[in-house]
Symmetry: C2
Subunit: 219 residues, 2 copies
DNA sequence: CCCCGCTGTCACCAATCGGTGAGTAGCGGG
DNA sequence: CCCGCTACTCACCGATTGGTGACAGCGGGG
């Protein structure tokens, strides 16, 4: 009993060192940032707070105030970290350059974005946060995400020009909106507007519909 | 309480004393439901709680437990209320019936839905809630909303059959996803994927792009 | 050597949360 | 007239929140 209580308390068994926190500010900062990112990705922004982050990082919340200046600064750090998103998701072949038509390109980009978002819980949570709140925190994060997405699209597009006679910016925004909502809705409830979004077969149907829409405009 | 000080301070019309609550259960129930709906519409689901609702309704939170069985029951009541959404948004001419082609119909429905959502804060908040959480509460509300939307679409569609060779269900789901995300994103941050969504001119651009996409598939 | 600064820990604060139990006030039927 | 039912109010609970001030311990520079 006593031993167990002791163990549960905070101090591990006598032999195993309690892993007395080494005095390493850098490591602590990284632990906090990682805890914040994983917490946001796994739990969403509902339970995203100082206490929960400190708990998950195994640090004291005081350190969050000291090192990041509170939640705001920490969120900003997450936003800065989002820049890495682009580097991680550019296929080596950078296929865009060799696409024949703008339609080929947009179809490919749409499907790539769909998959990328489906496999990125953090990005999904940020996206959900964006449409649910309008605080300064969210605005900063939103800007970082938006910038990363724009950069990614730009890199992938290469030098291919959109066709004349269509408001490509508007059309692409609508397509991206569809992709984002499909992913959000699917992740949250497994369906969207009556269309089930659970199995990979479901997602293929959605992807096919998406391709049809893109092709219908860009040929 | 405050009212006593108020009286001493600057006594208003003595007859107009709305102070004492009339003992009218029905009125109280309605006040609570209305408070909950307006609170959700105006503040969003972040601050949607027993205390806030009771505060806004001017009633004691105990009454929410008594009359609705807690937040869950109250949310369910809101969901039931959502059925009225359909009745309120069916244009008298029910134009769908006289549409020539499925493309005409879907284009009209898309634009109607876009406007309807843009002007319905409550529906928007519920929509945002749906993609942000996955609790039982939200699931019930989501189901009610989804049912209302499906019923509306069905009423509007009339007996017009979708064209062969296209997975109309999937395509329509993607279109609806785009509409919903455009509205959410626009309401929250005033833009979506780089496309500004503030002025009515902005929205016209989005609507035009939406029409192009629908027409591209359904002709 | 001692002392100061940085890292990490802990205790405590006020506010708010959802939830409950006990009590008050007014209307209506006997 | 009075009693009981019901609408309503209030006080309190434990838990959790964001936030702060004080303290312990190590280590490097004077």
């Amino acid at each position: 009993m006593l031993n167990e209580a002791e163990n549960l308390d905070n101090s591990p068994a006598v032999d195993a060192e309690p892993e007395r926190r080494v005095r390493d500010r850098g490591a602590t900062e990284r632990a906090i940032l990682a805890a914040a990112k994983s917490l946001l990705a796994e739990e969403g922004f509902q339970n995203f707070g100082i206490n929960a982050i400190a708990r998950r990082a195994g640090s004291d919340k005081q350190l969050i105030y000291r090192y990041y200046g509170g939640l705001d600064g920490l969120v900003e750090a997450i936003g800065a970290d989002l820049g890495t998103w682009v580097r991680d998701r550019i296929p080596e072949d950078a296929g865009g350059m060799f696409m024949l038509t703008y339609g080929d390109l947009m179809e490919r980009l749409a499907l790539l974005l769909l998959d990328a978002l489906r496999n990125d819980p953090l990005m999904r949570r940020i996206l959900a946060w964006e449409v649910s709140e309008n605080t300064e925190q969210v605005r900063r994060l939103s800007e970082a995400r938006s910038k990363a997405l724009a950069l990614w699209l730009d890199r992938m597009r290469g030098s291919l020009a959109p066709p004349k006679g269509v408001d490509a910016a508007a059309v692409n925004a609508v397509v991206i909106a569809a992709i984002q909502h499909l992913v959000l809705s699917g992740a949250a409830g497994g369906q969207c507007a009556g269309l089930s979004l659970k199995t990979s077969k479901d997602w293929e149907k959605a992807a096919t519909a998406l391709k049809r829409l893109v092709r219908g405009v860009y040929g």
